[in-house]
Subunit: 349 residues, 2 copies
DNA sequence: CTGAAAGCGCTAACAC
DNA sequence: GTGTTAGCGCTTTCAG
């Protein structure tokens, strides 16, 4: 038996002695086919291994069941976790995914990216790149010819734009409340790069928490990092010099917090007795740092999932209330504080 | 001015007063268009924001410039790094990517996955899921109707199958040579889950290295983990009990090595003096462990890139030697040993 | 219940 | 140089 190339609907129809429409009806489970015909056609379909062309179907239906996803920094675990949530939810809803990874986070030239998705007839686009620098600027003068529904992740909520994000400010407040509860009063901060919206939110939480507790905030009490452990190492050096009374550090992510632990160890400062440490993200290694790291768990996977759910609500009308799409409410997920050894001054004897 | 939906080629042709064919020629930079016509059409194209449909084009050309990518475990940094290499190389070569993430590593039911890609007319499929359990079994009875070129990552090389992988065995040998050079003689091993090909390779390297140095290998000298730090913690507990003379550990990845460091610290064993530690993967945190971790750097990003390059060689004939596609040579990338504090017994005074 | 015709948006092949 | 015709593989519409 000779194997041919992928059969098309015509060949199936020919083999079954019916018209292509009938094959189409069988493929789409339409009721108006007689049982005998249906069975005969189905057998042929099985024998030939017929698989309809999603392309041809998308073309005629003006509906591709495909979503475009724009991401950046996949070599970092955060974006990868989010993407994983997106793939899982998309699978669940029966959508295929077109993936594009930007070479940098602060790409402002978005037209070619959207055009690629549009040219593939994507039903929607999930913009999974966090707000950095002016990479949301283009939303003020959106290219008029872009008729694709979009959902944005991790950005300052705006009118009429569907946004899904972790509540970074709230997460930061949780970290700070915990440190203050534990009796720390001289809390330094290692921020992320401040052109990142998330970094600004986390820093604002640090600052507000101190001020609300009538603790002075000075410029020398914080240093800007760039998310990397290496930058954290430099930052903590500076902080130790600038802020000798410092008895705790809120680091804007776990990688930088790891450097704080290392630096404290090298200077024979005990954690949590001499220096309390709290991170952000809850990377999978943080329970195994020495000591284990207290951190704010951000559900990036869930952010990805919810982005897809929001998208489905928009592009599949008639499922839920349609009035919601008129007033898209930003979704801000509340993080969780995961308390471990690095901040437990109270319980240490 | 009213904004219409995405214009098609017919509308452009009408507006420019030419045939669709001419518009097509302009879009594809064909030479046989007069300069004036070209300019006029191009203006209309710009004004209308015309973007040709990749779908229609794929349908007629029988070529989609789209690759399918199958991955798994994106929440782990390894697969994410590989995917990043794939996205970057695909971008470079002008290919779009359809992404599918498997819910588990050991999925054996591959037909629906391939069919989805085929139905989207993918020009090729990159199988970026590592060999685990019998998830390569289906290659023995490949579904005959799957005419898609494929490239596989991270598996035992086989005849006539294009494979790109890190050389895990060689990496393991490098780790072991280094430990032996440093004078360690009682080297335990925490392996990955042994249904993983990579875990078996790394373990074999451990075993062979010891035997070639006339060091006895006992069952009690190694424990199986599951890649996670938690499993590493359990494993190292066991090893300390089973193998009291142990003076070094080769852990099959950095996460498990981290647990070794933590456990040593808790037992007041000094690293590297009492216990040498070497990991595998070189995750971004490992330079900041206490002490910094010696590890085998595996270029997963490069694996992803090369997979795309191999695929292009296969589906774009006439670029290089075609005879290569007849005898696809497995590509095994040599890892690098990154020496840090955790294994430097010699240099410690 | 089933089939014929038309067309989604594009390009290959051929005419002029 | 440019236009016409045909068709990629499918579904919608309408006829029977």
């Amino acid at each position: 038996m000779i194997k041919h190339k992928r059969p098309n609907i015509k060949q199936v129809a020919l083999a079954a002695g019916v018209s292509t429409q009938t094959v189409s009806r069988v493929m789409n489970d339409r009721p108006d086919v007689s049982p005998e015909t249906r069975e005969r056609v189905q057998k042929i379909i099985g024998d030939l291994g017929y698989q309809p062309s999603a392309l041809a179907r998308s073309l005629i239906q003006q509906r591709s069941y495909t979503l475009g996803v724009v991401t950046a920094g996949l070599k970092y675990i955060g974006p990868a976790r989010t993407l994983s949530g997106i793939t899982n939810a998309a699978e669940e809803f029966g959508y295929s995914l077109l993936l594009k990874e930007l070479p940098r986070f602060d790409v402002t030239h978005v037209l070619p990216i959207l055009q690629e998705f549009i040219s593939h007839h994507a039903d929607g686009v999930i913009w999974a790149v966090p707000e950095v620098g002016d990479n949301r600027e283009w939303l003020n003068q959106p290219p008029a010819d872009l008729e694709v529904p979009m959902v944005f992740l991790t950005m300052q909520p705006r009118e009429n734009i569907p946004v899904v994000s972790i509540d970074n400010y709230q997460g930061g407040r949780m970290a700070m409340s915990h440190l203050l509860d534990q009796g720390y009063r001289h809390i330094g901060h290692i921020s992320g790069p401040l052109d990142w919206w998330e970094a600004r939110q986390r820093k604002a939480a640090w600052q507000d928490a101190l001020q609300e507790n009538n603790i002075e905030v000075r410029e020398s009490y914080w240093v800007e990092g760039n998310w990397s452990s290496a930058s954290g190492a430099q930052a903590i050096e500076k902080l130790f010099q600038q802020y000798p009374e410092m008895d705790a550090v809120f680091a804007a992510n776990d990688q930088m917090a790891l450097s704080v632990i290392q630096a404290a160890y090298q200077r024979n400062k005990r954690i949590p007795q001499d220096i309390g440490v709290v991170g952000f993200d809850n990377i999978s290694e943080s329970p195994f740092f020495c000591p284990a790291l207290t951190t704010v768990q951000s559900e990036q996977y869930t952010v990805g999932r919810m982005a897809v759910e929001e998208m489905i609500k928009i592009i599949e009308p008639g499922k839920k209330q349609e009035q919601e799409s008129d007033h898209p409410t930003p979704i801000m997920l509340t993080p969780t504080l995961v308390v471990r050894q690095s901040s437990l001054k109270q319980q240490v004897h």
